[in-house]
């Protein structure tokens, strides 16, 4: 049987996409297509759809549903080219017979452009404060928006004036707990001046695995002069007077945690400092202290009633 029934015009089939192809897609990304065939006024389920790139069929799909006067495929993926380029595909309904009726072919050209993967950075384990001119290290991770392995790519650290200070090469395994954050530890010489520093890390545009755009991020720390005095901060729980272990201490820019005896030891240059203590389950406490010699400072923490919650 054929569609050439007496007195019946051959239907002109029209191809459409449920969602248009975005004008830009990441290179190598899966582009999802859902193809609709309209104009048949009949259910074309079982019919074949092809996606052609150049001369090659890169994907096929089957029409599976008929509604609102069109038949459509499920969403199916077609992989974008892995180079940075403009590309076009032809979506084809090849001439075929469905349900005993022969249909002529129809085609829909689509085009888009690939773009390189983006990169983003994280910087952690930055000690602060750092003693002027002391060496220290930071950890830097880079993530590809395509989750590509960035092993072997270079990370550079620069100071405020953009002068390079050190570099590292991303290792082979992602940082624990992340999907694909490739990382490296970079050793650095401390700054020569005191005070807050804002440095940056940079990932240069590169073709590791696939083309990637460059990225940068800032990190900060405080540089301090050598210490002069030893400060022991003793933290106890109010009323019961027992030592509080693992409470966190901030003495100006200095950080420490209390040990089993509830004491944290910090070495600082003389001066007036804000002392703050924090521990989960307690009210934070703070006071101002003047350090002019080795000194012991006592601080009491008040335990928060356990049941008190904000929605109470």
């Amino acid at each position: 049987m054929s569609a050439d029934r007496p007195g019946e015009a051959r239907p002109v089939l029209r191809l459409e996409l449920a969602e248009p192809v975005p004008p830009q897609v990441p290179l190598g990304a899966d582009v999802l297509l859902k193809v609709r065939v309209a104009g048949a006024a009949r259910d074309l389920s079982g019919g074949r759809i092809e996606v052609v790139a150049g001369e090659e069929i890169v994907a096929t799909a089957m029409l599976i549903a008929f509604r609102d006067n069109f038949s459509e495929t499920a969403a199916f993926a077609v992989r974008a080219p892995v180079g940075v380029e403009a590309f076009s595909w032809t979506i084809r309904f090849p001439p075929q017979e469905i349900g005993g009726i022969a249909y002529e072919g129809s085609a829909l050209p689509v085009s888009s452009q690939t773009r390189p993967h983006r990169t983003s950075l994280a910087v952690w384990s930055v000690p602060s404060p750092v003693r002027v001119a002391d060496r220290f290290a930071v950890t830097v991770g880079a993530k590809s928006s395509g989750a590509c392995a960035l092993s072997g790519a270079r990370i550079e650290v620069r100071d405020e004036t953009d002068a390079p200070l050190g570099q590292g090469v991303l290792g082979d395994t992602p940082w624990p707990g992340t999907d694909a954050l490739y990382w490296t530890e970079i050793a650095l010489a401390g700054p020569c001046r005191e005070g807050q520093q804002c440095w940056s890390v940079a990932f240069a545009a590169t073709d590791v695995e696939l083309p990637h755009l460059g990225a940068s991020a800032d990190f900060s720390f405080t540089a301090v002069k050598p210490p002069e005095h030893r400060v022991a901060v003793a933290v106890t729980e109010s009323e019961v007077a027992t030592p509080v272990e693992a409470s966190e201490i901030a003495l100006g820019p200095y950080r420490a945690a209390t040990d089993k005896t509830g004491v944290a030891r910090i070495e600082v240059p003389g001066g007036i400092y804000d002392l703050a203590v924090w521990k989960s389950g307690f009210e934070p406490a703070s006071r101002t202290v003047e350090i002019a010699a080795d000194v012991s400072v006592q601080l009491e923490l008040i335990r928060r009633p356990k049941e008190l919650t904000v929605w109470d």
């Binding site: 983003s120 993530k143 989960s280």
Partner: protein, 521 residues
Amino acid sequence: MSKSPRPTGAENIDDRPNAEIDRRSFLASGAAVVAIAEAPAAQAAEAIAWDREVDVVVIGAGAGGLVAAIAAREKGASALIVEKNFDIGGRAMMSFGGLYIGGGNRLQKAKGVEDSPDRAFADWSRPEKPMGRFSDRALVRTWADNNLELFDWLEKNGIQWEAYRGAPDRLDRNRTRLNVVRWPNEPTTPARGSGFVRPLEKTARRMGIEILLQQQMTKIHRESPLDGRVTGISTIEVDNSYRPKTRTMNIRARKGIIIATGGSAGNPVFRTMFDVRLTEEYQAENSEWTERTGDGEIAAMEIGAALGATACQTTQDDNLITKGLVKENGLRFYDETVPTRDYEYYAAALAWTGDPKKFNGGGPIWAIFDADAVTREEWDVKPPHVDPAGYFFSADTIEELAGRIVNEYQWRPMPGAGLRKTVERYNSFVDSGVDAAFKKPHPMHKIARPPFYAAWHTPALHDSYTGIRINTSAEVIDLHGKVIPGLYACGDSAGGFGQHGICRAATFGRIAGFHAAAQPS
């Protein structure tokens, strides 16, 4: 079964099962013309086929409703409770079970706490505090004057007191809150609220009060649309998700109807009447157990009820809880450590951030934190503790995290570079120890170690302090300042007293029950 409510001012002929016949024969007689002329309101009344009749109908089986039904029954009235949930308890079930109740009771005396109704009133009507400033002081006085009697009455009806707890909070200066003993083995919640509602449920059932579960009130009937006594309610059976089924019921209330439906905090249309900023993105806490959609308020307003003390709602700090780090635009906007009752925080949180299609409400707020915070706080960031379907996200970098935040209220993608700069700047405040932007005291921890997380941290609605206007007898007041005869409201459904918790509900529930029982049938 009675088919029509009695005419205004007529004798109590409807109490008898054969009232309808009496009415018909009466109307059929030559006296009918006179009766109608005397009672025009009756003409407008719809003919209702009552399926049930009872003296007092209570809508809602929470703290206020259970107390109201027991109080009415105690005074000799028959009482019936309809509840739309599949279990009793209302919001009180999820409560921590603390009551602001004092006045100088036995437990206070034992603790050496000096208290009196005068002191209680003074505390809760303090003008310098937003929470006390806008309350109807006549209601506050009534609460204070009822404290001692209520304490004894609750004990008599099965409530066991645990202890006055910790420090005074909210407006309380010396009594603090009295906790009830949790109901043993309550499966619903580990909180103590069960220790209030379960004993009262037991008492209510023992007294013969019927509790009809999964019955949602759909209408309160009045003799005429805006005049006369209330006559009864209509209900529809609902499923576990409050979806209406098909079975409906009309329940006649001979003496009174008490609204105890838990307030309107979960109804954005309703709550934006008095604070237009409280748009859909603000969820109502405890909604997992019970809805608070203003059912009672709406039904009462449809028959002429007024709202009371609406200023309470916008100015009181228990309306919104929780706080966060960045708005939808990736920017910080406040000191994150302010107490949960910092009203200026909410002004900032609810400020417009530029959505061209939504001018009210402040959009989502996200807490941004790192792997160190998870360790430090001992958080479990896996489902079911977090909801990755739009309310919790994680990523390897801050910029990637911003891109992953997709939520129906996030009207634009959060700019990744913007969030990175926010975090970098915040981290620099940790180095210096000074929050140069919002003066957070002692910023302690950087957000630096991957992976990174974004958690929904948008304020949520807590209490309703605006609701139906009531007088000191818990009678509902209409738009002209007149009592709607036979209609009462209590708990979060009643407006006018900015006191969080169970005691306000119990105080006015008890008053309503007593008053309704004393009404003529």
